[in-house]
């Protein structure tokens, strides 16, 4: 049976690869997850994004069947698997420490899902050969995991997951043990592999840049609750609240106290300046005006000559980041971060007076108390 790398896709009438509804789990007193519900469409790469302790790994373990939920259902391709043992669910999982069998060779590790299920030798051999050529790890098949490099171990774990062509792949921070350079390389490879196979990935990570880079859609978890479900780009452009805006994006978004005065031509007073002409923001701000918290991404601020600048401030810190540099400026009312290219940053020294203007782009507004997004 030749390994068919492109499974037959009859339009998208498949039911969701995975549906989770009302999932809750508590360890002792603290509620690790309460009432989680989301859907993972067939063939998508969905990312569970959240800081440590947000409930990512708990969610994956409940879906895999390694732990039992206190309440809620896990449905895969229309079958309710909530009560099934992991082996009876059509899933594969990659753990953050990869969990390869230390006493088995690369070949035995990759082949184990098939050999456990009693597939015959010839079928196993050619499927492992196929997978190891795709993942370029044919040279490590007869070696033990401890003799392999980080990247090779990671690919063997992937091979073990892929060999059975399961309906759903669960990946728990698969790239966390790798070097910074290798991590970026393998990200692209993971995404390409997912798309070529048309497989369904559910990947958990605390790293927002990883989420943005690979996700078709992102499910943001905080304190065991789902805060937002959105595509990677709209998670950046349309965060649901202040915390989400702060969590996604580096350097961090500027969150400043501001007041909207619809009466005098809709100017917005922020950081000791009153700025008119922020049309998009003015349209979506509540008509009554009043105080709110404005969210300005670092790339939405630009340096300009003092006379023409809306905001005056002093340079507080210059951090070179290669081609670009991050400038932190301060005045009595506020502290702001902006990103400029390295050459123009070299001209500035801590203490310089600089002028800042706000570019009328996708500015965000949050309710000062609740942090919920209002515009």
């Amino acid at each position: 049976m030749e390994l068919d790398l492109k499974p037959l896709r009859i339009g998208s009438i498949f039911p969701a690869a995975l549906e989770v509804c009302g999932l809750s789990k508590a360890f002792g007193k603290n509620a690790a997850l309460n009432d989680i519900g989301f859907t993972v469409p067939e063939g998508s790469l969905t990312v569970l994004l959240g800081s440590a302790g947000a409930g990512k790994t708990t969610t994956l373990r409940l879906i895999a069947g390694l732990d039992r939920p206190d309440s809620g259902r896990v449905v895969m391709r229309g079958c309710d698997v909530t009560a099934l043992e992991p082996k009876d669910r059509d899933i594969a999982m990659i753990f953050d420490n990869l969990a390869l069998y230390p006493d088995k060779t690369g070949f035995a590790n990759i082949a184990s899902p098939l050999s456990i299920r009693g597939a015959e030798k010839s079928d196993i051999e050619n499927r492992v050969a196929q997978i190891s050529s795709t993942l370029r790890i044919a040279h490590v098949l007869n070696r033990l995991p401890k003799t392999m490099s980080g990247g090779e171990r990671q690919r063997v774990a992937l091979g073990r997951a892929l060999i059975r062509k399961p309906g759903l792949f669960l990946l728990d921070e698969p790239l966390s043990s790798l070097d910074a350079m290798l991590r970026i390389e393998l990200r692209a490879e993971l995404k390409r592999l997912q798309r070529d196979l048309g497989a369904t990935f559910l990947l958990a990570t605390p790293d927002f840049s990883e989420a943005l880079a690979v996700a078709d859609s992102v499910i943001m978890l905080r304190g065991g609750r789902i805060v937002q479900v959105a595509t990677a780009q709209s998670l950046y452009d349309d965060p649901v609240d202040r915390e989400a805006a702060r969590f996604v994006g580096s350097p961090e978004i500027n969150l400043l106290k501001a007041v909207y005065e619809p009466a005098n031509q809709g100017t917005i007073r922020v950081a000791g300046a009153s700025i008119a002409g922020l049309t998009r923001l003015q349209k979506s701000l509540p008509k009554g005006g009043g105080p709110f918290e404005i969210g300005i991404r670092p790339e939405q601020l630009k340096l300009s000559p003092l006379e023409a600048a809306a905001i005056q401030a002093r340079v507080f810190d210059v951090e070179p980041l290669g081609l670009k540099s991050m400038l932190t400026v301060k005045n009595e009312e506020a502290e702001m971060r902006l990103v400029i290219d390295a050459d123009s940053a070299r001209g500035h020294v801590v203490g310089d007076a600089v002028g800042i203007n706000v570019i009328d782009g996708n500015l965000l507004a949050f309710d000062t108390v609740s942090g919920i997004r209002i515009a």
Binding site: I10, P41, S44, C79, L84, D88, R89, D90, V229
Partner: protein, 325 residues
């Protein structure tokens, strides 16, 4: 993917079941992870219950009666309340002496074993040829059956035995000592035997502890300019504290039960000068057949042991008993 905020819900059309998707609905092998946990621990709990807890309850009951084997079955035993305990603590000087003597021997032995064990362990931090063979050689005493150790030292301490020969060789003719005739000599013989037998355990635990001390703090101290002696006293030894406590607790648990070596060496003699608490209870119960009285004595010792262990154990309770991974 369209850029709507919410994910587009795929309509629920029954799927074209592919071959390897599990059949819907059949709930096989109902998930029961923690029941397996309990199942695994059942045998251990049963054995502990049957062979430890029940006998202790029986002993506890008997310690309040005046039952002896000749009295027939347990049921006829008449309750005498705390008489046994009163007798033991107030009137039975031999019991109190045995307890004090056992504690004395334990303290002296533990101290000597710790000092010799630590000295040997520090010596083993240096590099020298044949280290592995020497390590095994030094562990040998610990491996020998207690009764054999007792009997061997009984031979060594004979009046015409090798120890006296060495003493006479070194200190002249009169130096031969009658080890088993005078109380202080008999007790020192017991202590020498015990220290010889169990110092290797301290050596082993402390050496393992020394090797487990994290390297970086030691390197940091060296880079800051500390001399090896300063590194040892300021960094290594304090970090060794938990291991030292473990060694003391483990040995304390064992040494209080001292029976085999003394039984073979002096059988508690001369008189009762080397009679440990275990030996006394053995004599009470199995020579004089005062089983009830022996049970009461045994219980007092049990409580004393638990109290002592609790005191010694508290500083490192989590290390020994951490159940969670």
């Amino acid at each position: 993917m369209s850029e709507t905020n919410e994910l587009r819900m795929v309509s629920q059309i029954p799927d074209l079941a592919t071959d390897d998707v599990p059949k819907a609905g059949i709930v096989r092998g109902k998930l029961r992870d923690n029941r397996l946990g309990q199942l695994l621990m059942l045998p251990g709990q049963i054995v502990s219950l049957l062979v430890l807890v029940i006998p202790l309850l029986v002993a506890f009951y008997i310690s309040f009666t005046d039952w002896t084997p000749t009295r027939g079955s347990l049921v006829q035993a008449t309750l005498v309340g705390l008489d046994n305990y009163k007798e033991l603590l107030v009137y039975d000087t031999r019991f109190v002496e045995a307890v004090v003597r056992t504690l004395l021997i334990s303290v002296v032995c533990l101290a000597l074993e710790f000092v010799f064990g630590l000295a040997l362990a520090v010596l083993f931090l240096r590099e020298f040829r044949g280290k592995a063979i020497l390590f095994s050689a030094f562990l040998t005493p610990m491996m020998i059956l207690p009764v054999v150790v007792g009997y061997t030292f009984w031979m060594l301490f004979q009046s015409n035995g090798p120890i006296n020969q060495l003493l006479m060789l070194v200190f002249g003719e009169a130096a031969g000592l009658q080890w088993f005739r005078s109380a202080p000599l008999a007790i020192s013989a017991v202590i020498i035997t015990e220290v010889w037998h169990w110092t290797p355990l301290f050596f082993l635990i402390l050496l393992s502890g020394l090797n487990a001390v994290p390297e970086n703090p030691v390197r940091a101290a060296v880079i800051l300019g500390a001399t090896p002696r300063q590194v040892f006293w300021w960094i290594v030894l304090p970090m060794l504290k938990p291991v030292i406590i473990v060694a003391f607790v483990i040995r304390a648990m064992e040494i209080i039960k001292l029976f085999d070596e003394v039984f073979m060496l002096t059988r508690g003699g001369p008189g009762t000068s080397t009679e440990t608490i275990s030996l006394y209870i053995y004599k009470l119960a199995f020579s004089d057949f005062q089983l009830a009285y022996g049970a009461a004595a045994a219980f007092l010792v049990l409580l004393g042991t638990l109290l002592l262990i609790h005191l010694l154990l508290s500083p490192i309770r989590n290390q020994l008993l951490e159940a969670r991974r």
